[in-house]
Symmetry: C2
Subunit: 192 residues, 2 copies
C-alpha cells in the first residue's frame, strides 16, 4: 500500500493567509451577487467587485478515512445591511459533519437541517477560540460580523463532497443583517 505522508500547514497571522497556500479559491461579490437582498447596493459595489472571502485548501484525497481541511477568511464588510458571508453548502453525503475553529475575528455560523423533514435552523457565534460542531445533516454558512477578517479552519471527512446549487437557488431561511448597529437574525423574505 502507498502511505500518504504527514503534512504541516500554517496560519500566517501577519499576512492573514495559509502557508503554503495550497489550492486558493476566491469569491468576489460577482460570484454571489444574487444572494444578497439589496440589489441596489450590489450594483453599486459591483463597480469595484470586492473579494468577499477566500479559502486555502490542503490537497488531500477525497476518500473515506482522510480528513479534508482548509483555512477560510471572510473579509469584513456589508452589502446593504447584510454582512459578508460564504455561499453556504451542505455535503453530498449529507450524513457527514464539519468542524470549525475560529482563529481570529468575530462572526456567526448559520445552519439549516437537510433531512426529509421540515428544515430546522440553528446559529452559533464564532470568535477567537471557538470550536464549532456542525453535525451530520446540517447545511452551513459563515458570516463576518466584525471589523476585522474572520479566519477559521474547516475540517470534514474526505468523502463528504459539496452541494452548492440548492442553497444558491433557495437561500437560507434566515438572514443576518445589521440593525441599530447590532447583528440581528431575521426571516428571509425570499426563502423558497
Amino acid at each position: 500500500m502507498e502511505l500518504f505522508r504527514p503534512i504541516n500547514s500554517y496560519y500566517d497571522f501577519e499576512n492573514i493567509k495559509m502557508v503554503p497556500e495550497g489550492d486558493l479559491i476566491t469569491r468576489n461579490l460577482s460570484d454571489m451577487d444574487w444572494m444578497y437582498q439589496d440589489q441596489e447596493a450590489v450594483q453599486e459595489l459591483l463597480k469595484e467587485d470586492p473579494q468577499i472571502y477566500r479559502y486555502y485548501n490542503v490537497d488531500i484525497p477525497e476518500e473515506e478515512g482522510h480528513l479534508q481541511h482548509c483555512i477560510s477568511i471572510i473579509n469584513p464588510g456589508k452589502v446593504g445591511n447584510e454582512y459578508n458571508m460564504t455561499k453556504g453548502h451542505f455535503h453530498e453525503i449529507k450524513g457527514t459533519a464539519e468542524i470549525y475553529y475560529t482563529i481570529q475575528g468575530e462572526g456567526m455560523l448559520f445552519m439549516q437541517s437537510v433531512t426529509d423533514g421540515e428544515p430546522e435552523f440553528e446559529a452559533l457565534e464564532m470568535k477567537k477560540g471557538t470550536l464549532s460542531y456542525v453535525p451530520p445533516y446540517w447545511a452551513h454558512r459563515t458570516i463576518n460580523t466584525g471589523e476585522e477578517p474572520l479566519a477559521f479552519i474547516g475540517i470534514y471527512p474526505g468523502e463528504a463532497g459539496h452541494v452548492y446549487g440548492e442553497i444558491e437557488a433557495k437561500g437560507f431561511m434566515k438572514l443576518l443583517i445589521e440593525k441599530d448597529g447590532e447583528p440581528t437574525i431575521i426571516d428571509n423574505p425570499n426563502y423558497k
Copy 2:
C-alpha cells in the same frame, strides 16, 4: 431520524482549558511512568506525581459521519532529559486520519506508520497556528518542548477508536530529548 444539534466549545486562553469542560481526562506521571527512559528521575518525580497532560473531550457519537474533537494541554516539563509527552496511540480503524491545530505553545508531533510493512517515522513541529495532518495509518504522539503549556485541538472520524496497548508495550522508534539545550531526536534504545 433524530437530528444531532450543533454545539460550540471554547478554548479559555486565560485559564488554559476548554469551556464547557466536557469529559476531562488527566494523565499524571504515574499513569505512564514506564514510558520514560530515566527511571531514577521518574522515581524522584513520582513523590509529587505531576500532571503530564489532560484533554477535554466533547461528547460526540462514536459513529461514521461524526467528527470526534477534543482540546489537549501538555504541561511544560521534562522527566530526566525527555520532554513531557502524551502516551501516543493509533486508531482501532487504522485507516483513519487525525488533524491537530496548535492554539499555543511549542512542541513536536511524532508519527510512526502502522501498516504491515516496516514502520516508518515522521516528525512535524507544532507552534501557534500550525495545522498538522496525521494521515491514515500513522500512530501519533505529541510532545511539549517549550516553557509554556502546549494546547492543541485534535479532530478525528467518529468511528476511529483508539489503541494504546501496543505503543505502551513497544514504545516509539524515536525519542525526543533535550541535548545542549535543544530538542533532539534520537533512536529509542528500548524500542522492540
